[in-house]
Amino acid sequence: MAEQRIIIVGAGPAGTRAAQACVAAGLQPIVLDEGRHAGGQIYRRQPDNFTRPYTKLYGTEADRAQAVHDAFDAIRDRIDYRPETLVWNIADRHVWTASGTGQTALPFDALLLCTGATDRLMPVKGWQYAGSYSLGGAQVALKSQAVSIGHRVVFMGSGPLLYLVASQYVEAGAAVAAVLDTSPFSARVKALPDLLAVPSILWNGVKLTQAIKRAGVPVHLGVTPVEILGDPDTGVNGVRFRDSGGKEQSIACDAVAMGHHLRPETQLADLARCAFAFDSHTRQWLPERDGDGRASVAGVYLAGDGARILGARSAEASGTLAALAALADLGLPVDKGVTASLRGEVATYAKFARGLATAFPWPSAQAAALPDDAVLCRCEGVSAGDLRAVMRETGAQEANRAKAFSRVGMGRCQGRYCGLAAAELIAAEAGIPVDQVGRLRGQAPVKPINIGIGDEK
């Protein structure tokens, strides 16, 4: 029998565990990774000449990070690992890669998309100023480069990353000016039953919050961000917000780390022509998949946060599970007991994730309330008012239509950072449910490619 061609995209916890399962079955998968080193984002490795220990980099998750890295290193010689390689398109059961100006088209029998997540952003007036960063970006700065994003940092948004990154900054000795959480305390109480699904993570979260407060950092719950203050040349110089009592406050800072939990990177699933469905709990469109990770397209499997945001621990389980599903579909023997236990694990994390979505709700109303002069799309410099004017003039109420007329989501990031908020703004403006706005279609290249691609000179 010819060797089964398995391609895994991504080398974070899901991709690593998927590769490990393939190797255990005697196969040699190709693992394509945009990163320079395997590990993904949450378990991103620092450069080789950095010396901080795991406990410092990954805190409570140090053992898990180490285990994922060790697992990858153990199979490194038995897989075809290609770092710094972008999958820019998928067609006719080939993935098309770019690495600098080098390019390949790789055929596959099974494609496992373990593409991870990026921050989910709600624009705030002034977020285009230098010194505004995503929460994930703030964490990468610290974890992989040992720098703080500023001399005095405000953390603003909501979600587990808000507290995780703020506490990591405090611990590393950065000056944290405040933590401003848009979610109210009451939401956490409501979420408690689901959050108790994984008490250890819940407890870690409580400890992080306590550590932030112990360090004397003010933590405000139930805030409404008003504006990131700044100067076009020098960048951020403060944050204005309304506290839970409705009183407006300002905090001086030169950096803001912002975000509202995560959104899956689903563009490749889209280009692979997978079907999507609206998830009303997270108010996002997600690629459909069965309990084991099978997408609607035969031979395509989805795992980890790239499929839905269930966290790094779940990603390990869903990565293995998706690989086992692929192996079973290719006719290889798979232990049903293992599969059942992994399904149970993922279900537990799914319950916890539902709790997180309840505890840290996506503040969709903030999009509707964005002032007309606030930049909505950072890439194209389109303001909320520009989009509203286009809607009034053209009647556009569908995401791709609004994009075509207003350029919202048409820039270099392809709507990763403004798309969800733009959909909420459109929905509010048109008075329709956000699912009726639809979703921005994924378009190749998933990230920019050079016109010099394929140039053999």
């Binding site: 480069q145 990177e265 890439c379």
Partner: protein, 104 residues
């Protein structure tokens, strides 16, 4: 005018220095720095935004937002958050003038 740094080093400072050139000015970075860290540990911004008055300094640091592209003096594009700083690199932080297509 002295250039303020944006990023603050919190550790790992015991690395060999490397010197690169940003808009023809020498900049000292540390081996293992990304271009973004090299530029923002010694300055405040990376580039001029195309469609607004503001300067930009990156956003996501994970290769997704595409906000941190800078240029080499010969016109190649580099994503500052995912490119390592190397000795002798010559980086420019503004797009070449409108004569760019003539410089093939």
């Amino acid at each position: 005018m002295p250039v303020m740094s944006r990023f603050v080093r919190l550790g790992e400072t015991d690395r060999p220095p490397v010197t690169l050139y940003v808009d023809d000015q020498p900049v000292t970075a540390l081996e293992g720095d990304t271009l973004m860290v090299a530029l923002l540990a010694s300055g405040g911004t990376l580039r001029q935004g195309e469609f607004g008055p503001e300067k930009r300094a990156g956003f996501c640091l994970m290769g997704a937002c595409q906000d941190c592209w800078v240029w080499t003096s010969s016109g190649e594009r580099l994503r500052a958050c995912s490119t390592l700083a190397t000795a002798g690199q010559r980086i420019v932080t503004s797009q070449p003038e409108s004569t760019w297509p003539s410089n093939a």
